[in-house]
Point group: C2
DNA sequence: GCGGGTTGAACTGTCAACAATTGTCGGGTC
DNA sequence: GACCCGACAATTGTTGACAGTTCAACCCGC
């Protein structure tokens, strides 16, 4: 069932990459924090080589930024970067929506409805990382779009969105509107209307962006107590 | 004038990256060829570390593909991958065209006209890498779009296009049509019509894609003798 | 007290040797 | 003659040590 090579031995670098990525995405290494090669190496009980490799890789994914001779940091985004990020996201997911409307099968539509409902249930039951269910819906849309490169690029952008959300709270009113957007998207895709699908996605993403911007520059204690 | 840190000492890994990237993009290491760590290391008179780092970086740019325990190869594209690549390119440059139409200044338009004319002159005088002048025009458009992340992503896609072109000939008839597309694009951008600009870019890119596909699966000797 | 050079700890950048894996080339067997 | 199997060669994966850079605390003369 595996379509690609499934090596018995996964390299240390690869395993380190996955662990480190999750440490960043969950906020355990928070934005602004420094990533130390030797510290991670001793923590994982390996040498600096694989750790270094993982760090460089995450840098190319945009989850870390590198300063020569000074190490890697988890980036702290400002409003300008959020705007830039969502311009990219709109370009990619707007086009993906177009393709989804043109290429979706009945099974795709069923799957989208399932994920949409799942996201709604997750939000209402107060899960730990509710926005990951939102991204799961978007993943279903990408599946329907059948454009492998656009898909992989969107995944990278989504990681950055997850990183942003480690430092922003979830707004219930916003979430509800977002979930409604999802349903409208499914309608447009099922109807096979690429322009409507793209426009609906655009509106949706601008809503998400604006919610993020609302909380971005607040001091952290604003939603700790 | 430099806006970022300008370190006196550029690391070996960084210099190796730039040299190796150019070796791939010029076709000196042709698609299908294997890249050997020790061979490059001895060739550059350095150790494997920086070479390895450069290879991994180029892998993340899509200029090399990695097979575990078996080294890195310059990818050989098939028709399916070209389609996927141009779906991504249309998404990115379509949106960039929209922004360019909305945000361009008079200076941007002048610069676009200059690059368009420059590309035309270059093609007519039979330069060595004529398609790089095409990409230079596209670079001017990105400047007018003022969307830093979309810009950097387009650059990565353009590198892949350059790689493709190392193994495909230039078709004069196609080039002429492409240059005309450029002029139509400048018109739409100057007129401030985002939808027309995006649609014109779409048409242009599909033309470029189809030219590449025409020559893609021909045996190499077809344009050597 | 206060600026400016100095020194040193903490890091990243680089290297050369060692370990592990993969594909190949034999010889041997059915 | 086709197939399996084991040693070998080539190459990547990993390691620990060394070199160079950066930053900050410290010292010193003023």
């Amino acid at each position: 069932m595996t379509n690609e090579a499934s090596p018995v031995h996964v390299s240390l670098a690869e395993r380190t990459l996955q662990v480190l990525r999750e440490l960043v995405l969950t906020g355990e290494i928070p934005p602004g924090a420094r990533v130390n090669e030797v510290e991670l190496a001793t923590r994982f009980g390996i040498s600096r080589g694989p750790v270094r490799e993982a760090i460089r890789h995450l840098t190319s994914e945009g989850l870390l930024v590198l300063r020569t001779n000074r190490g890697a940091y988890v980036p702290k985004a400002d409003a300008e970067q959020v705007h830039a990020l969502f311009e990219l996201r709109v370009a990619l997911e707007g086009e993906a929506s177009r393709f989804a409307a043109l290429r979706r099968t009945e099974a795709d539509v069923r799957e989208l409805r399932r994920r949409s409902a799942n996201a709604r249930a997750g939000f209402e039951s107060g899960r730990r990382f509710p926005y990951r269910l939102d991204l799961d819906f978007h993943g279903g849309l990408l599946q329907a779009a059948r454009s492998p490169l656009i898909t992989s690029q969107v995944h990278l952008v989504q990681q950055q969105v997850i990183l942003l959300r480690t430092t922003t709270p979830v707004d219930p009113a916003h979430s509800s509107a977002s979930l409604d957007d999802h349903d409208r998207l499914v309608e447009a895709i099922e109807a096979g209307d690429p322009e409507l699908a793209a426009e609906t996605m655009r509106v949706h993403l601008h809503r998400v962006r604006d919610q993020l911007l609302t909380y971005l520059d607040l001091p952290e204690r604003a939603f700790l107590g």
